[in-house]
Point group: C2
Amino acid sequence: MTELRRDPIIGRWVIVATERARRPSDFEAEPEFSSSGFCPFCPGHEKKTPTEIMAYRGDSPPDGPGWEIRVVPNKYPALRVEGELDKEGVGIYDKMGGIGAHEVIIDSPVHKSQFYTLPKEHVRDIFKVYRERVLDLKNDIRFRYIVVFKNRGKSAGASLEHSHSQLIALPIVPKRVHEEIAACRSYYELKERCIYCDIIRHEISAGVRVVEENESFIALSPYAARFPFELWILPKRHSLNYETEDDGRLFQLAELFANVTYKIDKALSNPAYNFLLHNSPLRTDGNEHYHWHFEFIPRLSKVAGFEWGTGFYINTVSPEDATRYLREIPTG
Amino acid sequence: MTELRRDPIIGRWVIVATERARRPSDFEAEPEFSSSGFCPFCPGHEKKTPTEIMAYRGDSPPDGPGWEIRVVPNKYPALRVEGELDKEGVGIYDKMGGIGAHEVIIDSPVHKSQFYTLPKEHVRDIFKVYRERVLDLKNDIRFRYIVVFKNRGKSAGASLEHSHSQLIALPIVPKRVHEEIAACRSYYELKERCIYCDIIRHEISAGVRVVEENESFIALSPYAARFPFELWILPKRHSLNYETEDDGRLFQLAELFANVTYKIDKALSNPAYNFLLHNSPLRTDGNEHYHWHFEFIPRLSKVAGFEWGTGFYINTVSPEDATRYLREIPTG
């Protein structure tokens, strides 16, 4: 059983593994992905994953080949669905049980697929699967927040090469999300406008940090980007919840993501990257002024001591330069 | 000229390089340290660094050999001493000039020295140099905060192998420090006690997360550690400012650091690591209840998308296990 512990100073919750004592020798350098190795996510190997939660497949039976997108529980979950929250004080500290869900969304049967190598409809279906899983997990009243994310490449934290995304449902709202929501609320109280809507308007008019846009979505390099080539992808009209977006808008999101990931791969020679959905909490009131979005971060530079210790980042590529480089790449 | 930009949502300031447009190809994988390469920090190469700011040396003249510890400006500074703050609004955003100081403390003439291979008095002198530089830079009224830190190893962000520390003086107080200070203040208002003092008392009595202690200092694995083998090193009695510590106490700090780094190197096979001084801001009132400390983080695991996107960390080694492993290592 893992547990959630709260830092008494900062208020940050951390998932601490208590069940499996990793020995120091477990931290020897991990090998790079082996291209000849066995892949548990490839078709025909369905029995090597836990039983599937859902799949987009024709008439083929579950846990066999014939699927296009497949969702399975993470085999080594950070949190587990079974059990009670068991909130408890321990001396001056606070903890609760490691309750949650940890799922893997296998993007496609193709081992190395990218959003820009798949048909647009297939990419839209990946975004539909995100939506369906959020809608389903929302029914569990123990969960407060759902994070959908992708780690691509070893240095982005991926442990398998086969293209996949992940989802974690949490019994608390992460501190970072709390901060974003509080900022949206106080900005709205001051100005009666959404701060993300204001940023989008400002960026479209300024024109120097917009990498890509279509009718419904925009990809921009934020003014105070922490990392070189950091991007935010946002719905252009105000929208609180990802899961309320319809299929037509998710198709446009898929088109934008395909273009952005193509440009990033061309500009930066297929870097490791992460992207992560910043969505509204599941059932907290008072977040009406939030605006869901994705944050996209290529993992180009090592985050050094200064950065993690202060939360103060040094970005060696200005957002305006990053935007210019990416814009110049034709998507054909 | 670099500039400081403020994220309009979270309020986080970021240093953005605007002078030197790094091209995407600059991000190709960097090679590991070459052991045969030229080292600008080794004795005899003093002319390869900017003019020294201070040094512990006998009668030898500046910028030549004969030193024990040497402080020089960073050749590629994140911030510069010259210029004005030029605080400015840019549309909906806020920025200021990249004013500050960025210095390198070369720990010893020996290319690869560790705190536990140097004489204790020499390590104390390194901590004295930190103190002297903080006291000197405090006189510049443009600076609000000074960060002292060490990056050891490529994956911790070090660009040179020769043992060194760094110092950055900032014109703002980092958000993370603001949060720690606010937490200390509200805890004190509630209980009339320092929260770090309470944690130290609790940990000495609980006994399962104390790695090392002497008369004046304690090294512990924090209850809600973000990273495997994360450690905090704190003065046992309440102390607001690092720079008020006397030579005798800095000798004890040196002893503790020597033991802790020895154990970390033995347990984890010389991992990359960062440590960072969390000190009181330079001139803000209202931080009387802060308690300075070092945070020490071995860089063992890749920080994945989930972590950076939410500030919610998954730690695969419990602080109690980490403490047990480290305690079992004899320091002789």
